[in-house]
């Protein structure tokens, strides 16, 4: 895009304005902030799944590692959230790179399967190491971050909503800049044909690992935010279903584009809030959508629309 500034400024204004406007409507604010968090996750998933062609079903596991680590540092070691958040994010992102190593050896389905194994192991570990994670019961009453402006105050409610909205916005903007950069195009070359990409001079190993690192940064940065936003984490928050749901938001909107995950997240993220108490119904709807997207619309909504709009070539 040649003139991105109006769009950037407009979207930033929206991200600041929306939480402020909804300050008096907690339920609506909860839905909107939840959607911003999902936007962050979807943008990170899209870098790997959409641009690099590697589907990491261990995505939510990374979020979990970061969330548990940050909560542990805050609640047990007495760290400030503002110190624990970046530390937990970096540690979990490096774990994400380690978990991405199989992608250098395994292609296609076999990597997806190995990432499913990794995700299952992580979920089991969150449950099994109950002394650290409180097992299936989860950790509740997670304190909000301390306020960066008022000594002794806390950042809750609208302040936290604003923080998450800004992080979500930054995540999408950064993924958009990355996708348009030479690095993003190299990822596309790796996705389309890794061997040909190598022949054309692309360092495939570096590109894959870098993509894993950046994508894991997204997954990891969101974990602590999710913990303080919801105030509760349990192994179920970071299980295979969570990974699949993020993948669905990306695939439903359209993989490998910036607009796709935006569309997918804006449609799907608010859904569970309206089905409160019937969360299994959400599972059924999401499951049916996963099937529908895979069977009928591999390009997602975005792909479907741009196919319609593109003039037919002879």
């Amino acid at each position: 895009m040649s003139r991105p500034w109006p769009l950037l400024a407009g979207s930033l204004a929206l991200c600041i304005g929306l939480p402020l406007a909804l300050a008096g409507a907690p339920f609506a604010a909860y839905i909107v902030t939840g959607a911003f968090l999902q936007l962050l996750f979807a943008a990170g998933m899209n870098l790997l799944s959409g641009y690099t062609g590697i589907t990491p079903l261990s995505f939510a596991g990374i979020t979990g590692i970061s969330a548990y680590l940050c909560v542990g540092l805050v609640m047990r070691a007495g760290w400030s959230f503002w110190a624990a958040w970046p530390v937990a994010t970096l540690v979990a992102a490096f774990v994400g790179v380690l978990l991405g190593l199989p992608a250098l050896r395994l292609r296609g389905f076999y990597f997806v399967l190995s990432s499913l194994v990794v995700q299952t192991v992580l979920t089991l570990a969150f449950t099994a190491f109950a002394s650290l994670t409180n097992g299936d019961t989860g950790i509740s009453q997670i304190p909000p971050p301390s306020s960066p402006f008022v000594a002794g105050g806390t950042l809750g409610g609208t302040g936290l909503d604003l923080l998450i909205a800004l992080v979500g916005w930054a995540g999408v903007v950064i993924s958009w800049r990355l996708a348009g950069s030479g690095f993003g195009r190299r990822l596309v070359a790796v996705r389309e044909d890794p061997e040909l990409a190598e022949t054309l001079g692309v360092d495939v190993v570096f590109c894959k690992l870098a993509a894993f690192f950046i994508s894991s940064l997204y997954a990891a940065a969101g974990g602590p935010l999710m913990a303080v936003f919801v105030g509760f984490i349990s192994p179920r928050s970071f299980d295979l279903l969570a990974s699949l749901n993020i993948w669905l938001m990306v695939a439903f909107g359209g993989q490998g584009s910036i607009a796709g995950p935006l569309i997918g997240t804006l449609i799907l993220a608010p859904l569970p809030s309206f089905l409160l108490g019937y969360y299994q119904v959400k599972d059924i709807i999401y499951g049916l959508l996963i099937i529908t997207v895979t069977v009928a619309m591999p390009g997602g909504i975005h792909g479907w629309i741009s196919n319609r709009m593109r003039p037919r070539l002879p």
Partner: protein
């Protein structure tokens, strides 16, 4: 003449079969080198081994002063060595313009201006690709795809391009057109050509290596190779009727 490519003692075994057996090949600057041999004689394995697409059991490859053996293919590429594939290899699901942009990435910082670059425009005009920019690469004819493949490789301004049967599968008219292009290609970079048949090699190569069973059985200018009794017995007498 100085050596551009020096491959020494290359060996590669698959189970009990030698794909390459102690193969030494030198290509000089300004020289067009050919390689012929029957199916399975190790021609493609040689290219794969030189570019780093397959691992070597033993042997070393030095290209333009850089050791590239044991390194991934992008290292060879960055040293100025590129290749084509026997089964033509382009990003089939993307338009031709995208293919060129993806291929030009490592060498042009501004991908969006790439197609307007004078050098690039010159290559596109030479290979007559400009009218095809919007078409999907997978929907092109084989000849068009081979030209696209050539253009993608040339964006890197390579010193040597290794081509694996570049006229394979083309119609007789296209073969003649391709051979004209390959002769003109020599003005842009040195070439190494694998071929199945002798007449293409004779027209294009200054020197030819004859392969049988992963080994080199002759290494001389085409006219001399044609007189070599061993070559005639081993290869030409059998398959090049």
């Amino acid at each position: 003449m100085t050596a551009l490519l020096e491959a020494r003692g290359l060996s590669r075994r698959y189970g009990g079969v030698h794909a390459l057996r102690d193969l030494t090949v030198t290509q000089h600057r300004g020289e067009a080198l050919g390689m012929i041999g029957p199916n399975g004689s190790g021609k493609s394995s040689f290219v794969n081994a030189v570019t780093g697409n397959i691992r070597l059991d033993t042997g070393s490859v030095i290209f333009d002063g850089t050791v590239i053996s044991g390194r991934p293919p992008h290292v060879a590429m960055r040293a100025g060595l590129t290749r084509g594939y026997q089964a033509v290899r382009v990003f089939a699901t993307r338009p031709v313009a995208d293919n060129l942009i993806l291929a030009g990435l490592p060498h042009h910082s501004d991908a969006d201006r790439l197609l307007h670059d004078a050098d690039v425009a010159d290559i596109l005009a030479w290979l007559d690709l400009a009218p095809l920019l919007e078409r999907l690469a997978g929907a092109l004819t084989l000849f068009e795809q081979r030209r696209l493949e050539l253009a993608m490789r040339l964006l890197a301004k390579p010193k040597l391009i290794m081509l694996d049967e570049p006229v394979g599968g083309l119609s007789p008219v296209e073969v003649r057109a391709m051979m004209v292009l390959l002769r003109e290609l020599r003005a842009r970079c040195d070439i190494f050509i694998i071929e199945h048949t002798m007449h293409v090699i004779r027209a294009l190569a200054d020197r030819v290596i004859v392969m049988v069973g992963g080994e080199k059985i002759a290494d001389a200018p085409p006219e001399e190779v044609l007189r070599d009794r061993r070559v005639i017995e081993q290869y030409l007498g059998v398959s090049d009727a």
